[in-house]
Amino acid sequence: MKTSFILNVAEYIRDAILDHESELESLDRAIGDGDHYINMKRGASAIVEMRAELESLTPDAALNKIGMKLLSTIGGASGPLLASFFMSMGKTLKEKADDGAISYAAAFADGVKAIQQRGKAGLGEKTMLDVLIPVAQQFLTLTASHTNTKEICASLIHTAEQGMLSTKALIATKGRAASLGERAIGHIDPGAKSCQLMIEAVCKQRLLIQD
């Protein structure tokens, strides 16, 4: 992975967020406080604006910087969680020898673990983790079995979508929607939606390079 790939993905993610303004906004209005879109937009835009600063860094250093920037930019629940994800991912990448997809899968999984630690949450609590945990698992499995990039991307896009949709039927036990009880059922979790969008953006960008 090159830093330039990360920077391109950042733009792609920012655009994906902007394209889903009304969806993200209404999801958080329904079971949260309505600011998730604004939070994600603020974070994604800040990263895109860092391009010059990040360009010269190694991928792990860039990911760490991105995490720190998100930490001081997003706020809310998603801020420290996404920040922990990127900082942890950067840390693992730095420690591990870069052996391609396998090390990225490991770094991704460590990022997700950091989110779990920070948010004290797991699968089935109607949060972004319902997207991230299955994707991390699938990513590890597929890279371990040396699946090709195209298949990995297609599979992760699918897994993310499944995870995102799975939140619809759940009661929330973490985050703002936890106070809603039964009333949360029938609504997709906003953080799950934005994570699904981000994973889709990364995978699609990766597929473009592939071609």
């Binding site: 906004e25 209005r29 079971i31 949260g32 406080d33 309505g34 600011d35 604004i38 939070n39 603020r42 930490l71 001081s72 930019t73 997003i74 706020g75 809310g76 629940a77 998603s78 801020g79 420290p80 969680l81 920040a83 920070r118 948010g119 036990t173 973490k174 985050g175 703002r176 936890a178 106070s179 809603l180 009880g181 009333r183």
Partner: protein, 329 residues
């Protein structure tokens, strides 16, 4: 959306600047990262720092000053502030006895303050406020939300800190006040977050949201509007259920407006709530009625009951000099 604003991105800084200008005798504003401190730094005390999303004014900046907070970190509207704000505020306010963070129990606030505490070069402790009894607590959830009762925690802890008490003593008092406090709110209309430009939730002309959160989060249930006394009765019952006060308990009753409800109605609520509580053998000896923990322009109100003991009473009554609460000085 009808508001006195210029550019949406400038609302927060313009409003903070106005606050700092209007109260320049009391507070100092730092921008980027955004935080406010007392104009005169106090020495040799635990620094009490609070913060949270903006839109709840006068929470928290309105409570900076002698006998209450040393600093406050305002986030974007309804969004937790970020750790860099807390670190900078702590750096500015630290007065050799450690930092006590007072944090309303929301995932975002908890995590951001937690990360700040981890990075902090000073000793620190945190009081999590969780007075909103609309949320039925359970081991599976993150627990109750912190709402208007936070003001009472900040007042009492702030008072104790002025005496030179230790960080641990301040945290203990804060936890105690929080455990003896319960609140529940009712919304008649939604609030409108400036950046969203439209109401957070839809609500019919004959509906109310019972147990609403201070960010317009849904509450216990959507109900048909009834006469005030019936609504107040339900709220008071929920609070009594949560606190289970002994007969002849002494209490502070706070009727808090969410932003668009006139004082005339808040006093009407006080009248009914105080009568109901008296009826349950509770002796209301302290009161506060007004907009103390708001939800932007939401019409609605919350009722908070804090069970007093001699220690809490002493710290509630002690001198305070902030933009919002001021007595004894």
């Amino acid at each position: 959306m009808k508001k006195f604003i210029n550019k949406i991105d400038d609302v927060l800084v313009e409003s903070l600047s106005g606050f700092a200008a209007a109260h320049h005798d009391l507070v100092k504003l730092n921008l980027d990262p955004n935080f406010l401190t007392r104009q005169q730094k106090s020495n040799n005390k635990v620094a009490i720092i609070s913060g949270g999303g903006s839109g709840h004014e006068p929470l928290h900046a309105g409570y900076i000053g002698y006998g209450m907070l040393d600093a406050a970190c305002p986030g974007h509207v309804f969004t937790s502030p970020t750790p860099d704000q807390m670190l900078a505020a702590a750096e500015a306010a630290h007065a050799d006895k450690g930092i006590l963070f007072i944090v309303k129990n929301y995932a975002g606030d908890v995590m951001n303050f937690e990360m700040a505490a981890e990075m902090l070069p000073f000793e620190s402790a945190t009081v999590l406020t969780s007075d909103d009894c609309a949320v039925i607590n359970s081991t599976y959830t993150t627990g109750r939300r912190g709402v208007a009762g936070t003001v009472i925690v900040e007042k009492c802890v702030g008072s104790l800190a002025e005496t030179g008490a230790t960080l641990q003593a301040c945290k203990t008092l804060g936890d105690k006040v929080n455990s003896r406090t319960a609140s529940m709110g009712v919304a008649l209309t939604s609030c409108t977050v400036p950046a969203a430009g439209r109401p957070t939730f839809d609500i019919d002309d004959n509906e109310l949201e019972m147990g609403v959160g201070i960010h317009g989060e849904p509450g216990r249930k959507r109900e048909t509007i009834r006469e005030a006394d019936a609504i107040i009765q339900d709220v008071v019952n929920a609070i009594l259920d949560a606190l289970k006060p002994a007969q002849n308990s002494e209490a502070l009753l706070l009727i808090n407006g969410f932003g668009a409800t006139p004082l005339m109605e808040l006093y009407l609520i006080y009248n009914t709530a105080a009568k109901l509580l008296n009826h349950h053998g509770i002796n209301i000896t302290r009161s506060l009625v007004g907009n103390y923990t708001t939800a932007l322009d939401m019409a609605g109100a919350s009722i908070t009951l804090c069970l007093l003991d001699d220690e809490i009473k002493q710290h509630w009554d002690s001198p305070v000099h902030t933009a919002t609460l001021r007595w004894g000085v």
